[in-house]
């Protein structure tokens, strides 16, 4: 009987630890993920423009490194830094960066070239990427 009670207590503690581990699991991030490929903002935008279904299959949910010229810097509604990359007057890729990238982004200005590792979400007005980290 004593053994059975001990077993129940151990089981309860394990379940409790598992519950807290699941409830407090950190959100998805890409810091330790390798980029699937490196591509320019122009190439990525053109792939989506040419065949959105195919590009979606190839890129949505995938981590890629995108390079391009900064067209605009802004903050979103949670004060996370956002950059629009493009060429000429055309916006091609919107990237929301992780909040801790704000100080690094301060070193870049409109018109500068930048490389960002981020996860592709799909295409709206531009190709949209999330969880961005500025590549060194």
């Amino acid at each position: 009987m004593n053994k059975f009670i001990k077993f129940l207590i151990v089981l309860f503690v394990i379940l409790l630890l598992a519950y807290f581990a699941i409830m407090n699991m950190p959100k998805a991030n890409i810091k330790n993920k390798e980029a699937l490929k490196s591509v320019s903002a122009t190439e990525l935008f053109q792939e989506f423009e040419t065949n959105e279904d195919l590009a979606s299959k190839n890129y949505i949910g995938k981590v890629i490194e995108v390079s391009g010229t900064i067209q605009k810097k802004m903050l979103d509604e949670q004060e996370a830094p956002v950059v629009l990359l493009g060429s000429g007057n055309e916006n091609q890729v919107l990237v929301t960066l992780e909040a801790d990238q704000a100080s690094k982004l301060n070193n870049y200005n409109k018109g500068d070239q930048i490389n960002i590792k981020a996860q592709c979400s799909g295409m709206l007005m531009e190709v949209v990427m999330n969880k961005g980290i500025i590549a060194d």
Binding site: I22, M23, N24, M25, P26, K27, A28, S56, K57, I60, G61, K62, M74, L75, D76, E77, Q78, A80, V82, L84, L94, T96, Q119, C120, S121, G122, L124, M125, E126, V128, N130
Partner: protein
């Protein structure tokens, strides 16, 4: 005076309660444009841009194994029912009513909402809205079918097992800039 405004960073917050917990998610990458002269307002966003408050759900949603084909985007194409209720030349607080279809994949439903608009001195417009909708029984069956198809089969889950409520609460926050 500008009549057309847009934003690429509208924030949608959704909350659904289950018998175990509240499921909350945020999307900070919603595109929206509004034209007060034409009384139209549109929203479009990507399903993959949702960020769940609970880390375990967020990781599952961001995994490559979750197949969102056919449900990549959601769109709302609305009409402003009372465009004269807002005076863009006078900074202040205004309320407007909006109605139109919300489309997710092949599913379409009519939505009504009231939005509070704050016209700012610099010409931008802050908008807040708070509304809820109920998923029909037939659509819950579709959600169960999708969960069976798209979630790995070892995890045998449906909306009833999870106790997911049919009522979804939505909050919207955005700042429109003149186009």
């Amino acid at each position: 005076m500008a009549q057309s405004f847009d934003t690429r960073t509208a924030h949608l917050y959704v909350k659904s309660s289950s018998k175990f917990m509240d499921v909350e998610a945020n999307n900070y990458q919603v595109y929206s444009d509004v034209n007060f002269a034409a009384a139209t307002v549109n929203f479009t966003g990507l399903m993959k841009s949702w960020e769940f408050e609970m880390g375990a759900i967020d990781r599952a949603f961001n995994s490559d194994r979750l197949n969102l084909d056919g449900y990549r985007k959601f769109t709302f194409e609305g009409k402003i029912l009372d465009p004269s209720a807002i005076d863009l030349s006078t900074p202040g607080r205004y309320e407007i009513k909006v109605k139109g279809p919300l489309t997710i994949g092949a599913n379409k439903r009519q939505m009504n909402a009231t939005a509070v608009c704050y016209v700012k001195v610099n010409g931008d417009i802050d908008v807040e809205s708070d509304f809820s909708f109920k998923i029909e029984e037939a659509n819950m069956e579709q959600i169960n079918k999708l969960m069976r198809e798209r979630i790995p089969q070892v995890v045998s889950l449906d909306s009833q097992t999870l106790g997911i409520s049919r009522t979804i609460n939505v909050k919207l926050f955005l700042t429109y800039n003149p186009q």
